[in-house]
Symmetry: D3
Subunit: 314 residues, 6 copies
């Protein structure tokens, strides 16, 4: 009856069998004395950044003109240290992917020094990021009749949350920081249902409404005043392979959206050469794989609907 | 090598540049001595409410008829205080949006007293909310052959989670509580992928299956025994603008769904005048922008499929 | 002004009214001395399992060949105890659903002993689960040109997260563990937007890209090397009812996907008899309700698009 | 330079050497499947008890006549469960000290049932404990001119803290609960510097001022209105040994103090037969080893002091 | 066997009996809507103060001249708010002790405004407190040959810990803040075994070695360069009573110690009129109840020791 | 009324005044980029060590022969890393006390490598430490008639707690680890009221009963089977000064206690040349400053007591 402690005697064998797979299948475990970036630390960085970007909404209250510099200066100092450490780890990891671990070259790399430079370069972008997000918040207010105030948008709109994290991740991506931008993007994806690759280049006054299911690919270019609804995909048409059948990475595979374009729910635009011209309106569920000129309204020829009397016991 | 501490000397300049944007771009920071509602506190309220609505499933175990009153009474008392505080903050914030901050009129408002009244009025709705949710749980059990028991539905169905938070948020919405209903709705959206505006008016026996990507707009009216699948949108057709080109807010923009209607995956119904008559069945991916009478079955005229032999190296 | 404490005197009445509903509507509260499985404990188990499956990525750093056995052995021992407890609770709960609570038969059941057996049987599956996930990680790398390394995939791909939790939940499902597999699946659904029923039978080298909105039903069978994009549904066509109008549960209701099939975004395959033959490619937004032979490429006859000049003030 | 990871290879040997001592020196490790009471849980019980004994001072604020029953009832219910579990563990442990582990007799014991009975018997004592502590608080107020209010005494007097935990521990001691009373007493000793054995029998209106270094032995009897200063010892004179040279345990070894006695700082009273008669005053540093009649004032014949001029460089 | 749930039915009666004592014995519970200061909050304030007084030792590392202002400014701002709140609560509570609760006079008091004034006045003392503590740290280094560095003293000397908290508590005491100074003092007493009443007036270069059991009374005056060992008591000789037999509070009851005095272990000096003249040395265990002039060395006429052969079986 | 926010404008000035003292009084702040050991981390190390020394009593339950190696091995691995880091920090700090910060010599020091060596050397002592503590636990059981079992002693005797931490700190002291042994000793002092300097050399079977106020100096030597009661001081007689009037540090200043000695409460033995011979018994309150031969019983010639009738209103 109840737990039989003799049965626990098989646990060491079970453990050994599992540990054996760390040698056999060693691509999906990370042993060794070189720590990876920490997802937890990266998320903490993101939370700190949201606090300095939108002070007064979340963590610390009673901020005022007399104490805001202390609060923000303290956070920036901490961010410097945290970013330096995590970026250095990401750089070392990235280096090891293409070099022998512990090789002479690795020893000569100053990953932490480089990490610090990138951390500082990133922190310098914060005023610019705030400038863009101020535009995005305005675009959300102008684009959604249900919005009561800018504050409400900052408090709870997943679209603004997603573009906030994207603008952070994109600056790190431009600084060639490995891994971390993607960790940020997927954290945001999990929180909002909106999947924006950190590589996407997005202009000001960008608004995503509802957002669940939106996918924006790595090489997208999106100009200013673009508005997107839930389920929109800006994706790749097909993937190029090299002569040996391997995927060609780092190629423009995703579309270009010019300014003042609206993409309604579940619209799909695919392909690196596809350009949606300025002021165009792409209707719900439209699927585009080639360019349209400016000022085009594209709608789907609605599929015929069939109306019958519904069966009784629906 | 490694971190260069002299480089940190630029951090104060960096901080100043960022702090300067709190004056320039002051719509996206909240400085001043009037605290906003706290998202964290609102989520804690929601968790407490789930504990009194579904006692015995999550937080506290070993509840029984002899101690349940203590447990619930203690939570209700705490909810009174937490709700009063958060609602009062939301009311003050809302007042300030349309009045000069610190004006004579503001000083005369008794936000906390009003907050308490609304908190009490809300708490009185709890038995009614439980009554509706009991129906919703039954609808889920009747509607999903994979459901093994009502308990399983309460434990883990995102559809029930979403409608639970919605029924809470909707009561607060009806009590004219600003901001908080929306914070609740977006918290639920983040957890479930289901986006229901707190304004939507939804009858008993409502069931959403799978749910990811569902969008239900502010002015929807949904009668009893309605069933909805993932990706369904009940949205607005277009937004009215006033003479000065500004969005007209607070208008019926979203459809009406009568009782016993089923909406299959990715169906879309748009427009404030659109009514789906009782006992109708709207097929997957159907997009409706005008009303259908009761007992109508609407399916899409399936787009022709093209079948070819697949290329070798897919 | 401010809080009026006399108004709090109505809280006891409010509490009593709410507590009264625990008798009336007693299906949605769980009172009694038999604790249910704890969602929190189940999630902790899942986190421990991810740590032993992918050591070195998340929780504990500086793992190396000299200490990994200690770390994993310690976790396995704890997992044995946690799993035994939670499975025993789930078994007792399941038993009570079909028997009188406290009946003679219940007293004779050794739920904890049975829980331990199932816990041990599950832990024995871990090397096999790792073997499958190693394949899945490879499939993700091969299938996404944006992936820089296997490590990046383990760190942040929601598709791998979803299949990891699924492979855990599926083993528990096969061991007839009640409730817990579903709790795991819905936790993963909330985190990734990917909804895979624990019953689905999925082969190695499975890759879901982006993933939001994917739904995979209980009785799906998916062979090896299958690739799926966001919004794909593998669902039921309709539900059978028995003579008394009740849903027939436990029947093959969802499709079979053979090896090397690709399903593009928002493709839908429905029905328990539907088989997508090996090496087929199902295009975006295609909706299939009957089988296609191997090596078939199915695309939608694109709906006619209408291009007009967009109105001025879009 | 820095950490040499090869040196870590000796850690497994180090571990093995340490683990070997768990067999050799097995009195100071507790292996096996029978968990001991948890110090942490016992402290949590003590904190809960302080909350029901002195509601409104520490943990929960805004208690009022309308919610106090909920708050206390909820705590009492939890205390029942926690006490039952910890007492049952202590009883089983105590049983095993004198019996073969896993013996037939042990299997027949209903430790949890007995634990519950003792838990309930203890909870019934709470009103009486409060009655005594109300007297003790009064005695502290009457005895210390620095005390500003009863509230200050409850907030921060270590003497009241010590007697509070003692009165709890003493009731458990009288109920023959093993181990737990002593854990409570030593927790209080660590917090206050006051060491009262749970066996000591102490009447109402007891006041300890300052308290550091006070020691009160197991078999002390202290009547009402006794006042004690820091450093007072009520101890044993010498220990009896049996014929085999082992200590005789469970004998009156500590003194009796009658009502209205004052013991000034560092006074020492030793011996089980020593009685300090009512209304006596024992001066600072007095050391008594035999009885004094009622109404006696005992002071030390002050040792002669020598006064010299102090050396220059003190 | 095991827990008998029917026995739990007596818990409501138990609860009622306990709750009844909240009316009978209502001096030792605090019901009502006026929250007391929070011990937890006061301790948090103390921890924040230690961080600004000794930055770099405990909580935050990597402080440097470039970020210290941010860190400290942020803490000072938070301290202002926390102190204002807690002091206001203490003032209101103190007011209620001598007035009818809810009386007209109470409503007219601006406790929070007064609390803020006292909070600001206290914060202005911080540089002065640091100046004193710098002297105290030096005195410890000069007085203890075991001390390796000033840093070691700051890190772990209980004597410095005690005087640090005392200097904080004493400033609040001088500002007539009720209750909080005493809470601080007793927190320090619990941590260090050193009991200094917040009222004691202590000059710079004060050093307590070891410290356990030291007691320093409310009306002590201690000049500069005084050194004290464990167990020293600076106490009251006897308490004055007024005509009605009540203690006379607020009178000089404790001694005056002039500069450069050393008091060895367990020395006792009692009485408000007792003055130990400058540069005196009071030997271990000496008990003084009257004044000694400057430059006096007082030692105890050692009690005769008796040396015998120890019995065999010690 | 209430908080006046304009008054907060003086906070920046206040902050500046405080920050200015970090330059003036820079001995009691630690600015700079070289982090000190962390008290918190050192305490965590102590807790981990207690877990491997006394497994099964505190943190982890259900330890058994099958999992103990995993649990302990995991802790030892973590202890290696934590100790290496903290010792390296302590070494660097100690080096800087006597050298110019950032000097050439410092750059050439491998503090972390040296830290690791000391960490490993310490971990090798653990079996020996356990052997000593096993003796100490036995001595406590043999010496206290109130002790019911060895387990009770491990659970809650402050004397065993103090000697446990001392034996750890003493090994680190012998390895010339700076600062950390003292931090450990003072943490233990705070918890137990027993102040043992890490330098004291103490043999097996050591027992301290009650313990509050015990002081044992740096250069004490204590042989086996010594028993000590509360308030005992083994201290220095006076401090030697060098020609410039500075304290001479690192000299035998404290007594030697031979085996089988008992020191009763508040006994004091002072001086580096004082030796208490084996099997001696030193009575309560005896103060010794010179040696006594073996087998001596020393008691105080009791001061004459004066017995009078106590005054009425004591």
């Amino acid at each position: 009856m109840a737990t039989d402690f003799r049965r626990k005697e098989q646990l060491p064998d079970l453990t050994d069998a599992l540990v054996a797979t760390y040698t056999d299948l060693n691509r999906i475990n990370h042993l060794g004395h070189c720590p990876l970036p920490s997802t937890e630390a990266v998320i903490e960085i993101a939370q700190d950044l949201k606090e300095v970007i939108y002070p007064g909404y979340r963590r610390r209250q009673n901020l005022h003109i007399g104490n805001i510099t202390y609060h923000v200066g303290d956070l920036i100092d901490g961010l410097h240290d945290k970013l330096t450490l995590q970026i250095a780890r990401a750089l070392r990891h990235d280096f090891q992917l293409t070099h022998a671990v512990g090789c002479q070259e690795e020893l000569q790399q100053d990953f932490e020094g480089l990490g610090q430079k990138k951390a500082l370069a990133f922190l310098e972008c914060l005023p610019g990021i705030r400038r863009l997000l101020d535009c995005d918040a305005q675009a959300a207010y102008d684009g959604d009749p249900a919005a009561k105030s800018i504050d409400e948008i900052i408090f709870c709109y997943p679209g603004l949350e997603a573009i906030t994290i994207h603008r952070i991740a994109h600056e790190l991506y431009k600084l060639d920081v490995p891994l971390i931008p993607r960790v940020l993007a997927e954290w945001s994806h999990a929180n909002t249902g909106i999947d924006i690759h950190p590589g996407a280049d997005i202009g000001p006054y960008f608004f995503i409404d509802h957002g669940t299911g939106v996918v924006i690919g790595e090489t997208c270019e999106i100009a200013s005043y673009v508005k997107i609804y839930q389920g929109v995909t800006l994706g790749a048409l097909s993937f190029a392979h090299d002569d040996e059948g391997r995927l060609v990475r780092d190629q423009k595979r995703h579309p270009t959206i010019e300014e003042h374009v609206v993409l309604y729910a579940n619209a799909t635009v695919l392909g690196g050469d596809t350009v949606v011209g300025a002021h165009s309106v792409i209707g719900a569920s439209v699927s585009l794989t080639k360019s349209v000129p400016a000022h085009t309204q594209v709608t789907i020829e609605k599929p015929q609907l069939r109306f019958r009397e519904a069966p009784q016991s629906a």
